[in-house]
């Protein structure tokens, strides 16, 4: 039920309908629930309706944070003389 996927808007037909690309397939979806949808936007698609636009700036900001974390972790591992044992319960 929570299953929603990102979809790229290819064309907006009117206030109610748009065509999107979801994973390589194009699909006609309802956009009644999101205002101001434009071609090129990414939307969250759920049971045939766009629920929200995906905020690209927020996504980029999060990915940048992830990059920083990886760099910080790599530096910490390089600086430490002993390889730490991985966290977790082992084979799960």
């Amino acid at each position: 039920m929570c299953l929603s996927v990102p979809a790229r808007v290819l064309a907006v037909h009117d206030a109610q309908w748009a065509t999107v690309d979801v994973g390589g397939t194009s699909k006609r979806i309802a956009i009644d629930l999101v205002e101001g949808v434009q071609a090129g936007d990414y939307v969250l698609l759920h049971v045939g309706f766009a629920l929200q636009k995906i905020d690209e700036a927020e996504a980029e900001s999060l990915l940048a944070l992830f990059d920083e974390m990886v760099q910080a972790e790599d530096q910490a591992l390089a600086a430490s003389p002993v390889t730490p044992s991985p966290p977790g319960r082992g084979p799960g």
Binding site: M1, C2, L3, S4, V5, P6, R8, G23, A30, D32, L33, V34, E35, Y42, L44, H46, V47, G48, F49, L51, Q52, K53, I54, D55, E56, E58, A59, S61, L62, L63, F66, M69, V70, A72, E73, P84, S85, P87, G88, R89, G90, P91, G92
Partner: protein, 374 residues
Amino acid sequence: MKYVSEFRRGDVAKALAAEIARLATVPMNLMEVCGGHTHAIFKFGLPSLLPPTIDLIHGPGCPVCVTPRDKVDKAILLARRPDVMLTSYGDMLRVPGSASSLMLEKGRGADVRMVYSPLDALRLAEQHPHKRVIFFAIGFETTAPSAAMAVLKAQAQGLTNFAILSNHVLLPPMLKAILDSRDVKLDGFIGPGHVSTIIGTRPYRFVAERYGKPLVVAGFEPLDVLQAILMLARQLREGRSEVEIQYTRVVKPEGNPVALRALGEVFEPCHARWRGMGTVPTSGLRVREKYAAWDAEALYPDLEVTSEVADPKACECGDIVRGAKKPWDCRIIGTVCTPQTPVGACMVSPEGACAAYYKYGRLHVERQQPTPVG
């Protein structure tokens, strides 16, 4: 695929896991509310990345799993009528009612159709004017606005042979019921990403302010879930209890006002019974009287089903759905109850905890302490 693959990077997962391990030095019981999160957690093997101090408890956020048997029975009674075409999301078709399922009824000749969207049901109503097309409306606030739009579109088109059988349920009242239940000990919540896209974060404030538990609204990619766990661990270490958003790329604090308006136009809250939790006040949605012409309950008021149909004694779905037990605590998982022969809804729904455990091979209790590598 954009907005998917970037959120599945292994190197980032390791960095997040390392930071979580540094923070989670005391036990932390975190409930992931949403069935989609349960599924993501097991699909991406997240428990093996987490320190043993973190216990993930699976909550009742699977609308299929919490549908009581008598609701399924109602849908079945409607499906049996020769003038009815019963349309439903795929995952409801195999959920057992008290004696049958929609799939079994289809096999016996009932006109039951699987649809991906309420719009498909609407289209079927247009194409089959001599049948009453009833849509079995299941789901939380994520899905209810779409069902509301289907009713509004039917009204705008003057379509008189379309109706919905509303079994929508609301998430925040369920959270309160969990918090009030004494047998589930929780330190924080991984909040539902897509419900929150609609309702925003204001409805969760009571969790932090009145119950003192942090709640972080999370996305569904593995890095989203890990980062949400990190944010929860940080809050617990710092003694904070706040509602935060990890899934900022689609969740805004105000939610989606257009969707909320559509939902409020067509539906009103009502009491609802949840499998395993009994009646949760104001936790359901029913169609407003204004839209009675598209409400299957109003159109068919005399459907006789036995209310409070109990699950078979061996079925532990009730306790599992509340987080009081884990799937491996159930005596019949993997033996009598399998995806092919489900006894309870937790096994039928792809988002059910039991289906996830079965699929990803976790049928036995795992040791809490890691095995020393030697």
